[in-house]
């Protein structure tokens, strides 16, 4: 029996879908069986980010309306063992699905897979409620800026109200250089406000844009700072003790950037 984890944030554009794709892939690389579920009905993206768009035939809507079996709707990611995608319907709206129906799908999936990662849409309305309906745990994604943190705080309150106790935080797109200059909220300040356990910190990594556009999650490219962060987070999710490294900003490249910005 696995567990259902909803990946959510409140605010849009902070990296929910990117994180779902990367964590799903990284968990599968470690040897876990994983399904990533797109809950963003009407605005689906997870299939695109994972490069599986052309192979989606059936969606969760087809499963719910009994047009096909659950197993048949799962798209297999051929690059790694035991990684499946359940896509969202693009033709429907978020209120076409009820929380109970989503919960039923998640219950069935966690009987067979170790991890069911549900990619939540932005917002706190029906789409979010559907995504969180079947969740045992939650991962909150936030970027270190006030609006994302405010929305994350709101979402944490709603999840706690729903009875989800295990809520962990990923701080995405942290730039140590900007924190040092005082232009970005630091990791500790974010934790101070949100007051939940930190699962990991993903540094700002320009490689994400290219990997998203190519449909190849970052974790397939060894060595990039973002990929390494996601792999560490995935290992923590499986119960391994992996320390969260303090970020350095004293590399050659950022120093050159600093030099240019100072002399503008």
């Amino acid at each position: 029996m696995g567990k259902v984890i909803v990946i959510t944030s409140g605010k849009g554009g902070v990296g929910k879908t990117t994180s779902t794709a990367n964590l799903g892939t990284a968990l599968a690389m470690i040897g876990k069986t994983v399904v990533v579920v797109d809950a963003d009905v009407g605005l689906r993206n997870l299939d695109v980010v994972m490069g599986l768009e052309s192979r989606v035939v059936y969606t969760s809507m087809d499963v719910i309306e009994k047009r096909c079996d659950l197993d048949k709707a799962l798209v297999k990611d051929r690059r790694v063992e035991d990684l499946m995608l359940l896509a969202a319907s693009q033709r429907n709206r978020k209120d076409d699905i009820k929380p109970e129906q989503m919960q039923e799908v998640c219950e069935k999936l966690k009987e067979e897979y170790d991890f069911v990662l549900v990619d939540s849409p932005a917002g706190i309305e029906q789409g979010f409620r559907n995504a969180a309906a079947g969740a045992d745990e939650a991962i909150i994604i936030t970027t270190p800026d006030v609006s994302a943190i405010r929305d994350a705080d709101r979402i944490i309150g709603l999840l706690q109200h729903q009875g989800i106790d295990s809520i962990n935080l990923i701080i995405n797109r942290l730039s140590p250089t900007l924190v040092k200059k005082g232009n970005m909220i630091s990791k500790n300040d974010v934790l101070d406000i949100l007051n939940i356990d930190l699962l990991g910190v993903v540094p700002e990594d320009t490689g994400v844009i290219a990997s998203t556009n190519r449909g190849v999650p970052l974790v397939h490219n060894d060595g990039s700072p973002g990929a390494e962060a996601y792999i560490r987070i995935a290992r923590r999710m499986t119960g391994q003790r992996v320390p969260i490294p303090e970020m350095r900003d004293d590399n050659f490249f950022s120093n050159i950037l600093n030099w240019f910005s100072r002399n503008k």
Binding site: R150, D151, D153, R154, I156, G157, L158, Q160, D192, I193, N195
Partner: protein, 223 residues
Amino acid sequence: MENSIVKLRGYKDGLHLIINPKVSLPEIETAIHELLGEMNQPLAGTSIHIDMRPPIFTSEDLSNLETHLTEKYDLVVSGVNVFDEKNESPILAAPATHSISQSLAADNHPDLEHAQIVHQTIRSGQTTSCLAGSMIVYGDVNPGGEVVAAGDIIVLGTLRGNAHAGAHGRLTSVIIAMELVPLQLQIGTYVNRPPVGQKPRGYPEIARVGAEDIIIVEEFIKF
């Protein structure tokens, strides 16, 4: 018609019963009877402040007077203010007075009969309220979160959101937090907004209504 022993005046925060403390308690009670007997409107249930110049009554006399006002006229005494000799305006909740009105109110005031304790962080979009007494939060109040209480508000964490103490108009209510960096504070009908970009100071602070009817914030040392 002018009564030299007791006067009734309406201020922004409600009715004030102004008492000449140089006469004995029975005389004051008779004067109150005459004054309130003349009123056409019944005052039952109204909250009232007691204002007086020094010499101040003993707390026993004060509580007898409060009991008298409560039992005979059904008035709610919401605070005791002491006029300064020189200054004609009442020093609301000035340090010397503050402790008197606190200890008296604790005995009689219905707003202070209960305290509600919350064992969680109040997050954005959440409101927690205690309209029958004071509120104690074992956690933070985050931006967008709100705590409302008829009495005092004590946050054993960082207050970053909104707090409204004395929600029924009790101006002696206070707001205390281990770190006080709120978006907005409200005591009774008074609102205070700290300067933008204020950083936590690293020590507990208390907010209360001070002289000139503004909310003042200072280091909290003890009651």
